[in-house]
Symmetry: D2
């Protein structure tokens, strides 16, 4: 990918980051991510479809609930709001291209600061997306998805689409409309809803049923608008169980799928599964992927990792090879993402304050995913993993087992079969054997 | 209620336990639970519909993963399996009647030990339910629900209805058939499915989709059989997230509702919500109740409490007044349970080894629920709680808010309203005020 | 207490809040907290020693990791830093006196904004503490403890006393020196260390042993300085397991006590136990109190509550009567706090945006504590609770049990006694009975 | 190692398991664990000192709180208690030698069933340890440590050394005496205390201080007895936070170290850190190792892994390479264990019912540790990891930083240095860079 800088080069002396292979110990090179390497019939680039998150990488300033900013950006200094936005975008595209990141994702307010004037916000978004379009054209970097930030503004403190005050809901609508327009304009392949404040702080003051009905209504309106404008992509819901709310309505994959089915949204919406959200919900990431895949709704993923001892969304960069391999097994068997990709919804630590840290973080994550995909493919191609698992269900392939699956057995018949066949022999689940297979290929 | 003992009185010197009121400090009397006291138009007995669990109270021997039995029962000594079962039933009905417990619940194997011979197990269950029927008639105690234990036998180590081996599924069918027959015979009002091993130990060796389809198939077969036999009651699914499995398919209320909707089981199935299962799933009990109530599926509940610092199902007796009051608010507003009641799926501690401990535990639990119901009714009747919450949603009562609810607004119209109305004023959620209302009535 | 307002009254139309008793349903009155009511030989005011936290109540603006401020203060508007500080202090003392709060607590930067100039910061602190001294004298409100904020400034992103860069440690020293001077000047009874960044984000880049030695060194230096200046009060360490760090060195009470003992700080330091920090560490609050009390180190407490389903420090106002009663049992049996009191380290919710919400929150908390103390005293005075527990250990009162305690038995002798006495009989732990006692007195 | 079977070969057709290297895909061979391979100056065998746990591998029958046994052993069938014990020991040594496991560990009751007769139990233990001694001599397999099971018997339901009933304490003494005798006789290098019931189920009925004093007294008596008998090895305490108790006194490494220091036991006791116990306590395993190592108390470890979503001690076999590498970094830098080794306190899953599963599980675990040690050594030898971390603390090497460490600076001097040096520059913690180093060497 051709590096594109603006008038200022923000990451001087770094990049472009290229594939150097296993022998390299250059910390600013890829050791595994050779985007052209073909695995399971497709180049890595097509399987992985890496995206950079604008918010963590270009807006996140390192502040946390106990302290102020630690990341100070050279691109965040000009007084004019659009000048600042363009500088930031220069930095972003410089980073994307130095890292060969084929996609990026944003919230409306990531691209340009918003004020309280709806029309003026729309103008700002139009201006900066004009600039983005130029940049995309010049580089080939694409928009994986756009979204609207419906959680940071004070007006959303009681929710956005689920706000008990209709006037706040209207503002959510205004933002989503503009964000959809922007996504469409930039050729965004998908549009994401993450309902950070769509939930409750206290059940005591909440009519949960009414709020969820409002949520469904809002999604239908948004979808209808986008389709009318010609949007052909997929809508994603990104589940999260809590934080900032006590309980978020889009708790986990199963909850969201239930909601989509109940409110007739299954045709247009899929899931964007985030690792750290999965673990906050008490699931493995693999579990959430499987739930989505089994429903045909594995749209996209947000790559990061949580901290198993800390109960908030730490959004660290992923690095655990065993976990990533198990995840890639599911993604490979599902045939990849439906429209989405791997978006690094991950942030460098508050105390990672060198300019190079953003590069190290993404290199580590991209290499880890590439490696995990290669390992998972080896597991599927070279080991008995798939066969072992399929064989476990052999008794349903024919005879009364098949009748059971097909619904032609009665409970009485089942009981008679139990008597007739006697006690089944013990069949080991062989969990440790399966686990050894994974490590054989790492 | 008339106390019924068998030939042996097992709880000598204890009971009957009666309502003595607040002035009493008799630890073997009720201070709050006056079953005839009318609250919100119904006597406490009708609201609460307390049930005793056979398993914890008459089978649980105090063993845990680190130690053997500590509870040794006088009714568990005779060598003949049916003699032993009848002695146990004598003890159980003595306890029910001494405690004025109007209902009980059981698994098949709670009533009488099962072996590996399906037909013999059926004979045993028929014999002991003959005896149960006599006891029920003599006392008026009723069966709240029956169920089959599909998790303890070695043949279910890989699941029951979801076992990869169809021969194990057949045995599950045999057990459910007999348990349904027994429930029907005893006039059981409901039948429960708790899928203790319906889940996975490792996702690596599991075809989750196939297993869930088997689950749905099995439930349909069971329901069809029961309906054919004339069962008019409700089927309950009891969610639990994990333990003994790593992940149980009936994770929580939302997951179960999704499953019921996906597989067309909503007409016959409702939920049985257990407190400790809710908290293991990362929810408050109140949340799970509300989810069930909002879907019209609040069937019944398993009363107990977990330990917020211990990550397994401790099944302790409930005692927390603030939490119980918040739960009863939801149950009251939902109009009570749909067919079910409050089943004490709770066990005295392993080191609670006095005969009286079983009484103290149930007295504490029943008094706590009665008190919580009275408090909740006061909150609803005497405070502004209900009005405050309703008023929060006033903006949807008419005008464009109502149009939004009715689906006649477009996203563009929403955006125009945002501009037209400007920034909404801040409206406090007043959480602390709501919380103070609760304590005002405790 | 005489209400003291400055030139502006910030909480117009509210207060003073007085005790009106159980019959009152005035939400702005105390129903339980009659500060003069004598319990266990002392007025409630002396047992409870309530303090208001400056930071949450007068600085906290409602922002969280996902959104900006929601609380906007009339006292936070003047451009001059000391003018603003004095306005805020006017609001604070107005609130303290309207609420009859006898104490307050602060961090240095709560009182007045700090910049990067050490000497200028000292001057600001001196100026605002001059004003505080006037206010204290005028009202009788006292300083329960002071502390320095060593976690918000960017220079502490890698720790304060444990920062790998000595230059950052020096700044921590400068701040503590000034905060100690201020505490001494205002007659503060205690001084607190909460080491929010004293821990690690990653063990990989950390020399934990060296950092803990630095911590000990820093505490000794601070203590020596304060003593030299004539400080007679107690130093408190406030344990917290994590957040903002991945792991904080002052993890829990046991860890801190170990540290104090190892580094010879037991004579000057005690513990300040926070409810929410206890639960984040996997303990009940009661447990942490008991650990501190058993070591003679129960100095003070930070009152709040966490959310059992959310893994961060939610710092909600306390309201659970069962839990508070169990806590007050321990505090009563320990004879109260050693120098400290009950500091509301609690914040109104982000969406509690009415001026009155701060009042409701504190009223609810103060009433709940008063009520819990009264209940606990009843349990201790009127029930067999204390005797029951003491009787469990009766076998150590004399004979070989006493010899065992006194260290005059050998292991061989113990073995011989086992043979001689045979199997001990089972003695019930009677947990449910104990729990019923609590509810009998709520 | 020479395979030793008894009269029956229990694992027919399996083993001996040998090192075959990376090219092998024999699931019954080692791919990494070449016991003679020298790493950091010592053969793998000496660094790792693998031990097999008698309890999980030869006694654990697969039962859990929701179901009965699933593992049925050919060696568990003879009616005579000592015959059975010898058969089991034959199986155990067959396994040890087929796996080349140099060590084993046991509780007294693992070796032979105990009854309620103290003297008879002693005779049984003597008889079976006679047999063990023969086996050890014949094979060279050694005893890593012995221990007494003070938690399974009903008499310990309220604790063992901390039981409120002194008569139960006496039995604990009898068991420990005999277990110490057995350990000494078999040349055991260490002796472990894991206090499974030394804690509380409810704080309400507990005098925690008294119980902990009893614990200390008991440990002193045990240590004194063993030393008198000539035991030269180390005593280990194995921390665990809970389960089966609500709270165990030996909560985590910091708590145990505090206890050892308080009660003057630091000279004789060290720690045995278990992975799953660390995570149950809210720590990483690495953290617990570091705490122990920093105190010079890293005695030994129990190898397994927990499940991050399940809140009980799952004791699964370890397999995560990233986590194990981070652990081995600490162990390598600490110079290895003090006396102990790596004991597989891990159990095959309840549904792992093939005889070979025990082999796969240990092979996977041993290979994972060997690989992690090799990786960690590479990180230490070939990367800048160690230097990077040391350099972070450079400012304490001389000048006022060193004065600070040496205790010759006052708080005033620190403050003056802050002014003199001004704001420190930001120094990145470079967490992602450190993490990438790990993955570079996996
Ligand atoms: Co995300
Ligand atoms: Co996240
Ligand atoms: Co239940
Ligand atoms: Co339960
Ligand atoms: Co605090
Ligand atoms: Co806090
Ligand atoms: Co262990
Ligand atoms: Co364990």
């Amino acid at each position: 990918m051709q590096v594109l800088t603006g008038t200022t080069e923000y990451f001087k002396g770094i990049g472009p980051v290229t594939f150097e292979g296993l022998e390299s110990d250059n910390p600013l090179a890829f050791r595994w991510y050779d985007e052209t390497r073909v695995v399971a019939g497709r180049p890595l680039k097509d399987w992985l479809r890496f995206a950079c998150s604008y918010w963590h990488s270009f807006n996140g300033n390192g502040s946390d609930p106990f302290g102020g900013p630690t990341h100070f950006f050279a691109w965040d200094q000009r007084s004019d709001v659009l000048d600042r936005a363009r500088d930031k975008m220069d930095a972003a595209f410089e980073f994307f291209t130095k890292m060969s990141l084929p996609f990026y994702c944003f919230h409306d307010v990531d691209l340009v600061d918003y004020g309280n004037d709806v029309a003026e916000n729309e103008r700002r978004l139009q201006a900066i997306t004009d600039y983005a379009l130029e940049k995309q054209t010049a580089t080939g970097v694409q928009l994986l998805w756009g979204t609207a930030n419906l959680f940071s503004h004070v007006r959303y403190m009681n929710g956005a689409a689920t706000n008990p005050d209709f006037r706040a809901v209207a503002h959510a609508g205004a933002q989503v409309k503009a964000a959809l327009d922007a996504t469409l304009k930039l050729g965004g392949e998908n549009y994401v809803f993450w309902g950070g404040r769509e939930g409750y702080m206290s059940l005591l003051n909440t009519n949960m049923k009414k709020e969820q009905e409002h949520m469904a209504r809002f999604l239908h309106m948004s979808k209808d608008y986008a389709r009318k404008q010609g949007f052909k992509g997929t809508f994603f819901i990104e589940p999260k169980p809590c934080e900032p709310t006590k309980h978020q309505y889009d708790y986990d994959a199963a909850t969201v799928i239930s909601f989509l089915r109940q409110y007739d949204l299954l045709n247009d919406f899929k899931l964007n599964i985030e690792v750290n959200h999965a673990t906050l919900a008490g699931h493995t990431f693999q579990h959430e992927l499987q739930v989505a895949a089994d429903a045909g709704l594995l749209g996209s993923m947000d790559a990061n990792r949580g901290d198993y001892q800390n109960g908030w969304d730490t959004d660290q960069f992923p690095n655990n090879l065993n976990e990533l391999t198990e995840a890639m097994l599911i993604i490979l068997e599902a045939g990849g993402f439906s429209g989405g990709g791997i978006n690094f919804d991950a942030k460098i630590r508050r105390n990672s304050t060198d300019a190079a840290d953003l590069f190290y973080a993404h290199i580590g994550g991209m290499d880890a995913f590439a490696r995990a995909l290669i390992i998972a493919d080896n597991v599927l191609q070279k080991s008995e993993y798939r066969k072992l698992r399929a064989d476990r269900y052999q008794s349903f392939a024919d005879g009364p087992g098949r009748d059971f699956e097909e619904g032609t057995l009665s409970l009485e018949a089942l009981r008679d079969l139990a008597i007739q066949n006697g006690e089944p022999e013990q069949i080991s689940g062989r969990q440790e054997y399966y686990e050894n297979i994974i490590n054989r290929f790492i």
